[in-house]
């Protein structure tokens, strides 16, 4: 049993290492926003779409992939004059304004740096996205979340098997649980 749980703890921890680092670093960024520059670089470009491209926003978004517009679509609004929509993925945000008369799409592009990408990945969830890589992230962060719980449980077991560290461990665990549960109850019942 000990051997199995020790290996499970080791394999899980090593496989999830970069994911845990991503959660940790992005959480530090959110807690200490002023430590990091999150300012995006903004640019704008205009693309004239081919005659055979439909006026449908999805078709326009597909056509714009050639200039790197990839991600989940949102905020779609269609009018007689054309359509507007947004496309977003971690680290990039596009605002598209398409004019039907000229077949021209004005694309406003915001690109962010590495830490901002980690921030967006931190917030990813689910597998219902238009953009396939985001679904893969959703599956992976789900697995890592379950793995993190298992890491905690196996970690507690492994500590408990070290007899010389039981007393200090019990004291630390009791203090931690005491603070955590007390604060949760105090806040929830406020």
């Amino acid at each position: 049993m000990y051997r199995l749980l020790r290996n499970t703890h080791l394999f899980l921890g090593l496989a999830a290492f970069l994911f845990l680092l991503m959660y940790g670093v992005s959480a530090v960024q959110m807690a200490h926003n002023h430590w990091f520059s999150m300012k995006p670089t903004v640019s704008e470009t205009r693309v004239t779409l081919a005659r055979n491209t439909s006026d449908d926003p999805r078709a326009i978004a597909r056509a714009l992939r050639s200039i790197g517009v990839r991600g989940d679509m949102g905020a779609v609004s269609v009018s007689d004059a054309g359509c507007k929509f947004e496309v977003a993925r971690p680290g990039a945000y596009y605002k598209v304004d398409y004019a039907r008369a000229t077949r021209e799409a004005k694309v406003r592009i915001q690109n962010t740096g590495f830490v901002a990408v980690l921030n967006r990945i931190h917030h990813l969830r689910g597998a219902w996205h238009d953009y396939a890589p985001l679904n893969a992230w959703g599956v992976m962060v789900g697995l890592v979340s379950a793995g993190l719980i298992l890491l905690g449980v196996t970690g507690i077991y492994l500590w408990f098997t070290i007899h010389s560290e039981r007393i200090i461990g019990v004291v630390l665990l009791a203090i931690n649980l005491g603070i955590c549960v007390t604060l949760l109850v105090l806040v929830r019942t406020a």
């Binding site: 080791l10 394999f11 090593l14 999830a16 290492f17 959480a27 990945i121 806040v187 929830r188 406020a190």
Partner: protein, 156 residues
């Protein structure tokens, strides 16, 4: 989020009060638990000339609508379910909040963030000093790292 039935209270601010002053008067009057005053950015009249004020907490939202025509406040409280409460609690990191319980929780979260980083890095260290040649451990590390990097490249 479950919402209570709205209730009404009479309210007449001093003549010439700004919307900021009205928001502060409402805050001082109710002192909803765990709340901070409404930020300047959130103070604006609606199309009917009423002043909506939202006091957000991890337990839910206290919505107050100042209706100057009726000289009254409409108060409605919504309560978050337990999963939403826990979700909001995990994101609390502002240690400058008015309520001491929220400040204490923010510090607890700060401690948890650094602990997570320390746990991840010390875990790698312990592996390297104990069983660095263990094949399956090497494959686990390489596999997890490769998936992360490939997904990162595919996403960017």
């Amino acid at each position: 989020m479950e919402a209570d039935a709205p209730r009404y209270e009479r309210f007449t601010p001093p003549r010439g009060s700004t919307d900021r002053e009205i928001a502060d008067l409402v805050f001082d009057r109710f002192h909803f638990p765990l709340t901070d005053p409404v930020g300047d950015w959130a103070i604006h009249r609606d199309a009917a000339g009423n002043l909506p004020l939202e006091f957000w907490t991890v337990n839910g939202i206290h919505r107050v609508l100042y209706e100057p025509q009726q000289n009254r406040l409409r108060i409605q409280t919504s309560r978050s379910s337990l999963p939403f409460f826990l979700d909001d609690m995990h994101a609390v990191n502002d240690a400058s909040q008015r309520d001491w319980r929220m400040r204490a929780w923010a510090w607890y979260n700060h401690f948890a963030i650094w602990s997570l980083l320390a746990m991840a890095i010390s875990g790698i260290y312990l592996w390297l000093v104990s069983r660095p040649g263990y094949r399956i451990a090497q494959y686990s590390f390489a596999g997890g790292t490769a998936i992360f990097i490939l997904l990162y490249i595919a996403t960017r």
